[in-house]
């Protein structure tokens, strides 16, 4: 079999030159167009934001409110916003702290933020009840989940840590528990003890994420991943132990009244995750079958609670952008989800004391 008509070296080189020229011209044009679009969009967003009415932080702090990460385009993108609970689509107050994830209570908040530089680093920032920075600690990677117990006693942060191998990026999570009263770390959950059916789990690939405290702790729920299995675990900060209580359960979240836990289950057919609500009795699963929530989209979030029967979570708009999020709400009885706060993520509900 002869070679298929080999082009002469000169013609081949010429054709190569044309391909290179086309390729580079097309790429440069594409990038320049994207850049000018970005610049135009940023300018428009800044103009829009300048025309937006704002509330005062100290006013909103006094009424029941939502604490979110503001994702409206503009100079305040990524900063913490406060929104009165009775008007979630209305004007908001902006706090000058940027957080990728924030969890707030009346007595303080935990914020996970990135510090961009030549080498991006990440911090867990502790905020007081006025949302002022009172302390910080380094965390090891991209923020994933943050949670504070109801009374502000404990904080939990989950970040993604990449253990770079030579050719591939392997992933693991790192979940730290912090005593917020003294702001001292109680260490990575991987150093705590987890038992399943009375036996300690020691798999080296185990990963923990998505802590949710029961009330003000010390009890909590979390997720343990090992191999391709995901378990629901119940733990105790006091004894630094955890026990497997369910064979499924991603990113659990316990309701304020402690009677419901919402977590993610993997659909055996589509392999997609969806939220389900399970009943709790005195902190333990009550054994009744879990009820699927009405949310059908893929949601990468740990839910927060609007009240004892309604959860909140952020949903991204489209896949081309990693920045546009809205907060949606769903009743735990399986009812349809509704849009609650546009241009926001990482919600917490704060009802001021007294």
């Amino acid at each position: 079999m002869p070679d298929p008509a080999p082009a002469s070296p000169t013609r081949r080189t010429l054709a190569f030159g044309v391909v290179v020229l086309l390729c580079l011209t097309a790429l440069a044009t594409y990038l320049l167009v994207q850049r000018s679009r970005d610049a135009a969009a940023a300018e428009a967003a800044a103009d829009r934001e300048a025309a937006t009415s704002r509330l005062q932080v100290e006013d909103v702090l006094e009424v029941p409110h939502l604490v979110v990460r503001n994702t409206a385009p503009g100079p305040s993108f990524g900063k913490v916003a406060l929104i009165p609970l009775d008007d979630p689509t209305g004007p908001r107050a902006i706090v000058d702290v940027a957080c990728d994830r924030i969890s707030a209570t009346p007595s303080g908040a935990l914020c996970l933020q990135q510090v961009t530089g030549m080498l991006t680093t990440y911090r867990a920032v502790f905020l007081d009840e006025q949302l002022r920075e009172v302390g910080a600690a380094e965390v090891g990677g991209v923020p994933s989940r943050a949670r504070v117990s109801a009374g502000g006693s404990w904080g939990a942060s989950t970040v993604f840590v990449s253990g770079h191998a030579y050719t591939d990026a392997q992933f693991s999570t790192e979940t730290l528990i912090t005593d917020l009263t003294t702001r001292t770390s109680l260490g990575n959950l991987e150093t705590w003890t987890t038992v399943r059916d009375g036996e300690e789990i020691t798999a080296v690939d185990r990963n923990y994420w998505g802590v949710s405290f029961i009330g003000d702790g010390p009890g909590f729920y979390a997720t343990l991943g090992t191999g391709d299995r995901i378990f629901l675990v119940k733990g105790d900060v006091g004894t630094r132990t955890m026990e497997v209580v369910g064979t499924e359960g991603g990113c659990p979240s316990v309701s304020p009244d402690g009677r419901t836990v919402v977590y993610k289950e993997v659909d055996p057919e589509s392999r997609n995750e969806h939220f389900v609500a399970a009943g709790l009795a005195e902190g333990d699963l009550d054994g009744r079958p879990a009820v699927p929530l009405g949310e059908g989209r893929l949601v990468d979030d740990q839910v927060a609670w609007l009240d004892d029967d309604t959860v909140l979570y952020a949903v991204g708009r489209g896949v081309s952008s990693s920045v546009d999020f809205d907060v949606w709400s769903s009743p735990v009885d399986g009812g349809a989800p509704t849009l609650l706060i546009p241009d926001a993520a990482s919600p917490s509900v704060v009802i001021p004391e007294g």
Partner: protein, 421 residues
């Protein structure tokens, strides 16, 4: 343009007719450089893109990635065999590079975990397919006495691309914040350029009519394994691969020694790659001069020293010194083994079986490393990291003299005739 010199007699070591590697090696090096820029710029942003934009859990990604590593090992054998079976290593490599280029376009379209899994599968298949045929083309293009240098040049260019890729990705994201699509489009453009260089500047293996010679079929591979030298190289590669603690574990060990923060993991990779880049050519040349087996095993001695460094008390050495020494050790290990092994395998096989021969040796290493990760994880769990590392170090200490005895006589740069099909 055919630059193959496969018909040149194999000169004795040190008296090679030409002191420079040919245009084909530089062209293939450029292809790899461009392709690595393309793939590494995506690899650098993929984790964040997946978690922020797609919503795929990173753990699911890690699991998929592990699965693909396994698939890629098998596809690599297939790529080597296909190159020989159809006697078209360039065309086979072209398919591999093409698949990876197409997968970059797929990233633009993939909107969910399923689509993304398919895109990654295409990318890995492409990577698996192209490696052995490309190395066969490199070895066809230089006299046997220059194989070490040729692979050294190629691996240095390849690593330069791997280092530049993430930098380019981060520069792009500074220029266009949050615009991952632009990273994928740019990655695709680089992949296309790589394919274009391969198409325009690398010739297909010349088809010499081989009268009376059977074309390569599956049973020819049995002949490959019938050669005692090839069998030994494969066996030793498998065992040494099995005793190689993966970089990921080494970096974790450094972190657990308190020598480095997890945030700096990407820099550890850069450090190792930089040492590899600088030493690939000198060590390749050294292997042409003093023999490839001593350099290959010497690289493993550097690995053994690295293990020992990780076992000593950090307080005696100091964190920064430990990190530098460990990265240096790993870099020497890669520079002394990766290209040199390809050169050894190429030297042992006749041109018409070269793709399969190289694929066999490389697959042995890759399979060994896959099992090594599992084994090291198990030992880490059963005992602890310190004892797991002691076990690996002791096993390597025993394996190296045995490997020397087995491979001493397998010098591919010797004048013995290579195995024919």
């Amino acid at each position: 343009m055919y630059t193959s010199v496969r018909d040149l007699p194999a000169g004795p070591v040190g008296t090679a007719p030409a002191q420079r590697v040919g245009g084909t090696v530089l062209a293939l090096g450029t292809v790899s450089l461009l392709t690595d820029v393309s793939s590494e710029m995506v690899a650098a942003v993929l984790p964040v893109y997946l978690t922020l934009a797609i919503g795929l859990s990173p753990l699911a990604f890690g699991f998929l990635d592990g699965l693909y590593q396994g698939v890629s090992v098998l596809v690599r054998l297939l790529g080597g065999y296909a190159a020989d079976r159809f006697d078209r290593p360039k065309a086979t490599a072209q398919v591999g590079y093409g698949l990876s280029a197409v997968s970059k376009l797929g990233l633009l379209a993939a909107t969910g975990p399923g689509g993304l899994a398919a895109v990654l599968a295409v990318d890995r298949t492409g990577k698996g397919l192209r490696t052995a045929p490309r190395d066969a083309l490199i070895s066809d293009s230089v006299p046997p006495a220059l194989l070490g240098r040729a692979f050294g040049v190629h691996r240095a260019m390849d690593t330069a691309g791997a280092l530049a890729g993430p930098l380019l990705a981060f520069a792009l994201l500074l220029y266009l914040p949050g615009d991952y699509q632009s990273v994928f489009v740019t990655s695709f453009a680089f992949a296309v350029l790589g394919c274009a260089v391969l198409w325009a500047f690398v010739g297909e293996r010349p088809r010499v009519p081989r009268s009376g010679e059977a074309p390569v079929r599956l049973r020819s591979l049995r002949g490959l394994l019938a050669d005692a030298r090839m069998r030994r190289v494969t066996l030793v590669s498998l065992v040494l691969g099995l005793l190689t603690v993966s970089d990921g574990f080494v970096y974790l060990l450094l972190r657990d020694r308190g020598a480095v923060e997890a945030t700096y993991f990407p820099l550890l990779f850069v450090g190792t790659a930089a040492v590899y880049l600088v030493l690939a050519v000198p060590l390749g040349r050294l292997s042409d001069r003093i023999g490839r087996i001593p350099v290959l095993l010497g690289g493993h001695v550097a690995l053994l020293v690295t293990y020992v460094l990780l076992l000593v008390d950090t307080s005696l050495v100091g964190g920064a010194v430990l990190v530098a020494a460990v990265l240096g050790g790993l870099g020497i290990y890669y520079a002394a083994t990766d290209g040199v092994l390809a050169a050894i395998a190429a030297g042992l096989t006749a041109p018409n079986l070269r793709g399969s021969g190289i694929a066999l040796a490389q697959t042995a290493v890759a399979a060994g490393r896959l099992f090594s990760a599992v084994l090291f994880g198990l030992l880490w769990t059963a005992w602890d990291q310190h004892r797991a590392l002691v076990a690996f170090a002791l096993a390597l200490l025993v394996a190296l003299p045995v490997a020397w005895i087995l491979l001493r006589t397998v010098d591919p740069s010797s004048t013995r005739e290579p195995l024919d099909a």
